[in-house]
């Protein structure tokens, strides 16, 4: 790394890399949520975080302010992000439905009890 | 062919047990006690023979204060490879020979409870003794190796047949470990052999190597000439080769002679300095292989895990031999072979050697703290105590920065040697004492003992004494070796010195804790309490001499140092001189400073 990324963050514009870092943090938090929460809804929230982290990257790569060359995704980034948001909404609805169904059936939302698919 | 000839006397010491074993094997039937008594008599005879070396003025004697190899003899064995039947004795091997003979007697006396296959046991025991004595006396590398292997097999069977419930496992583990070491050693021996060249030694060195004998008043050159003309196969070879005046065309004359190899290793332009692999010289790799081989025997962390298992499973007398003698072979090998033959590599790797020593000290002490099996605890204490030996041998403080002063290193090596003897006494004693209670109550769980003082007062008194010798209490033998080693370390490395000093705390911890759990306390509540009878006269006669020796060596260390020190000191001085020649001031300090001051940096030359 040729420079220390936070050295002059207050006086210079940030770049895509900074967005990517925020995205990575959100993503990692989301993944860890999925991996550690036993509550099905917690897992859903983790998914939301993951999607957001991804979205942030799309936006960052689509932005005209963040790259020092001209190769931005342009509106493509924003469009994809938009799709992601919409699909996330759909996914949330379905997942929630599944969770509710599971809850109704098992009287629990502990995902550790949802292991009937084991080999 | 009289007893006053070294060839006869030393061969008798080494091979008397083997001959006896042969006789026992041929002899049809004896009852068990007679077998044991015969074996005991043989071991006593060997002890008497070896003690006979003390007798001054006899045809063969060991003179205190002489540094050189004494009572050497040299016979052709396999002339085509220059292999000789070559033995001798000096201050380094002499105490170990005495210790071996002495412990063999005690161990045989401790073998009385053995009732299974007594004949085989006695035969193997005698073979083992031959191997052990031979290793300490052999001065031909090939002979050394053969005897080294001779000693392994009986040990394997003694553990594997007469051992405890997991004896096969322990025996195989012991065998695998030592086999690994032996293979490395064999490779190293061959490497050294094929790079050696006897013709590069001058006349005086030939004399020092024990190849050429001088008579009083004869100059070394004359002696060499006389030897060359003597017509022995080796001399003929030598004459043939040296007849070629063009040095470039001369073919080398390989040798297994350890003393000659030592001189070659330390000479200018040593033949072992040839580059071999990965930029390292022959002696560098030979040192590594030899060191691994010996350090397995010592044993040092991380190659030590055979020891606890072997000890736990081995019968008491074999444990005594194992701890008292076999472990010493590792230290003996390092001091006799690794350092003098491969000084360059030893100099480079001195810090590694010391580190291994310190690691073993700490590791063994911690592990001993956690054991609940009495014998296992003692076994780990051996790992810890033998760490002092490795450390003491390694503290190469005779470097440019210290003006090549050999004194602190001498102190370390002498301390290491002393520690070997001291540990031979104290650990053999400890294993025997563990065996005494094990014979009575048939378990070794520390937590189920207690209150033995009330039931076996004399035994407990002896045990506390011997355990304190292991703890390093002043006035007992363990102290002298430890303190000499530890005091020598600071000059070499402060970090290692501090760590090694810290081990005294751990040692006190595990030994006192064990004493408390076994001997102190209100009453014995474990199994078979009714069998706890006071010790028998036989047991007393085994334990008491060990304690007496521990006290004598502890109170008056010169009783041992007088015999040992001249040889050790001379070897260290030679290595210090070697350092001064090969590492003149100003070349080394840099490397030592660069890498945090330590890890022996590889030299650019």
């Amino acid at each position: 790394m040729p420079y220390f990324p936070l050295a002059n963050i207050l006086t210079e514009p940030v770049g895509a890399a900074h967005y990517v870092v925020v995205g990575a943090i959100l993503f990692t938090c989301g993944v860890l949520c999925m991996a550690t929460k036993r509550n099905a809804l917690g897992i859903l929230m983790g998914i939301e975080l993951v999607l957001n982290g991804a979205n942030l990257n799309f936006i960052a790569f689509g932005s005209r302010y963040l790259r020092n060359d001209a190769n931005t995704l342009g509106l493509d980034g924003q469009l994809v992000a938009l799709f992601v948001i919409v699909l996330a909404a759909a996914e949330a609805a379905v997942a929630l439905a599944i969770v509710l169904n599971f809850y109704n059936n098992h009287d629990s939302i502990d995902v550790d009890r949802a292991d009937q698919l084991h080999g | 062919m009289t007893l006053s000839e070294p060839a006869v006397y030393l061969s008798l010491i080494v091979f008397l047990p083997a001959i006896a074993a042969l006789v026992l094997a041929i002899f049809p039937r004896l009852n068990d006690d007679a077998l044991k008594l015969t074996t005991l008599a043989i071991t006593i005879a060997v002890l008497v023979l070896s003690l006979g070396l003390f007798r001054q003025g006899a045809g063969i004697d060991f003179q205190a204060g002489v540094a050189e190899m004494q009572n050497t003899f040299n016979l052709e064995w396999i002339p085509s490879f220059g292999i000789q039947y070559f033995m001798g004795i000096d201050g380094i091997s002499f105490p170990l020979v005495i210790l071996t003979a002495f412990l063999s007697v005690l161990a045989m006396a401790a073998s009385w409870p053995i009732t299974k296959h007594v004949k085989a046991y006695c035969i193997l025991f005698l073979l083992l003794e031959t191997g052990m004595l031979g290793v300490f006396l052999a001065l031909d590398f090939f002979l050394f190796y053969v005897l080294w292997e001779v000693m392994l097999l009986p040990m394997y069977f003694l553990i594997g047949v007469w051992g405890g419930p997991r004896r096969e496992y322990a025996a195989i583990k012991f065998f695998l470990y030592t086999l690994l070491g032996s293979i490395g050693m064999l490779i190293a021996i061959l490497m050294l052999y094929f790079n050696s060249d006897l013709t590069r030694l001058d006349a005086e060195q030939m004399v020092n190597a024990g190849i050429v004998k001088t008579t009083p008043g004869q100059s070394v050159e004359d002696a060499l000439q006389a030897w060359t003309d003597s017509g022995s196969p080796l001399a003929n070879d030598y004459a043939d080769i040296t007849a070629e005046s063009d040095l470039a065309k001369r073919r080398p004359l390989h040798t297994f002679n350890i003393l000659a190899l030592q001189q070659m290793g330390q000479m200018e332009n040593s033949p072992f300095d040839k580059e071999m692999w990965a930029g390292k010289s022959v002696q560098w790799w030979a040192f590594i292989l030899l060191f691994i081989g010996f350090v397995i025997k010592v044993p040092s962390v991380p190659l030590h895990t055979w020891l606890p298992d072997a000890h736990v499973e081995a019968p008491t007398p074999i444990s005594m031999i194992l701890a008292g003698v076999l472990l010493k072979m590792g230290g003996y090998g390092i001091i006799r072979i690794c350092y003098p033959i491969c000084p360059d590599a030893a100099y480079d790797l001195a810090y590694c050697v010391c580190f291994v020593g310190v690691l073993s000290m700490v590791w063994g002490a911690f592990a001993a703290l956690a054991q609940t099996d009495f014998k296992r605890m003692v076994a780990y204490s051996s790992v810890s105590h033998m760490g002092y030996v490795v450390l003491g041998l390694g503290v190469w403080s005779a470097v440019a920065d210290t003006g090549y002063s050999p004194y602190y290193w001498q102190m370390g090596v002498n301390g290491a040697m002393f520690q070997m003897i001291a540990h031979g006494i104290s650990s053999a004693g400890m294993f025997f004492l563990v065996g005494v209670v094990y014979d009575r109550v048939h378990h070794r769980n520390l937590n189920e003992y207690g209150g033995l003082f009330a039931k076996m007062p004399v035994y407990s008194g002896l045990a506390v004494g011997i355990f304190f010798a292991g703890l390093g209490l002043p006035g007992l033998c363990g102290f002298v070796g430890e303190v000499l080693v530890v005091l020598a370390v600071w000059r070499y490395s402060i970090v290692l010195a501090v760590i090694s000093a810290a081990v005294v705390i751990l040692t006190a911890g595990y030994i006192l804790w064990a004493i408390q759990r076994v001997y102190l306390g209100a009453e014995y509540t474990g199994p078979h309490g009714e069998n706890l009878t006071p010790i028998t006269m036989r047991e007393l006669l085994i334990a008491a001499p060990l304690l007496v020796l521990a006290i004598v060596l502890g109170v008056y260390p010169p009783s041992l140092l007088n015999y040992m020190q001249p040889s050790v000191d001379r070897q260290v001085e030679r290595l210090a001189e070697w350092t001064e020649r090969n590492h003149p001031p100003g070349t080394e300090g840099q490397a030592l400073n660069d890498e945090g001051g330590h890890m022996a940096a590889t030299r650019s030359d």
Partner: protein
């Protein structure tokens, strides 16, 4: 205060909030609090979108996500929030493994992010020179298949249609799945799968 570049300050603010509350979501044990933290984190992300010049997506983020999806989630929470589910503890071992794996992932990602020079931003002057453009119309056109911003790039009409159908199906499916099955007894369930 002279040389301060305010967008960066806001980036730090929003980014910090987003990350902090994402971490809070991760470490909170209480599902209700998690939902709350998630709302804040996502809202802050919307702020980041605005900063990156994606005003429409930012607005959508606020509306759909914060306003819609999360409300859905909160409903889920409320529907299932019995005492015993509010705080469910995970095994400590899971946490340790998770932290290690996640840490490794994070390190990899961050290392990747900063190892590409083009991603390291432009000068302040350069950034100021970039003209502000509204994005709503171009996006709307893009979704209808016409790229006004970059004529050589393809439109998104077809994907848009697919997503629409998908949404429809999903909603129907969700409604079907989530309907109450009060009639089934637990005895059936035991053998039901």
């Amino acid at each position: 205060m002279e040389g301060i570049y305010w967008p960066s300050v806001f980036f730090l603010l929003f980014g910090g909030i987003a990350c902090a509350f994402a971490v809070a979501v991760l470490f909170s044990k209480n599902i209700v609090r998690m939902a709350f933290y998630l709302v804040i984190s996502l809202a802050a992300t919307a702020g980041l979108f605005f900063l990156a010049g994606a005003d429409f997506v930012g607005a959508m983020q606020l509306m759909i996500y914060v306003g819609g999806t999360l409300v859905l989630l909160v409903f889920g929470v409320m529907l299932t929030s019995q005492e015993r589910f509010v705080e469910m503890k995970s095994d400590a071992g899971d946490w340790v493994i998770g932290i290690f794996a996640g840490g490794a992932l994070l390190v990899v990602l961050i290392w990747a992010a900063f190892s590409i020079p083009a991603w390291q931003g432009m000068d302040a002057a350069e950034a100021n020179a970039v003209a502000v453009k509204k994005t709503v119309t171009p996006i709307a056109m893009g979704l209808l298949g016409f790229r006004v911003d970059a004529p050589d790039r393809s439109g998104y009409f077809f994907p848009f249609e697919i997503v629409s159908v998908h949404l429809l199906v999903v909603l129907v499916g969700a409604a079907y799945l989530a309907r109450a099955k009060r009639k089934t007894t637990s005895a059936n369930l035991a053998t039901g799968d």
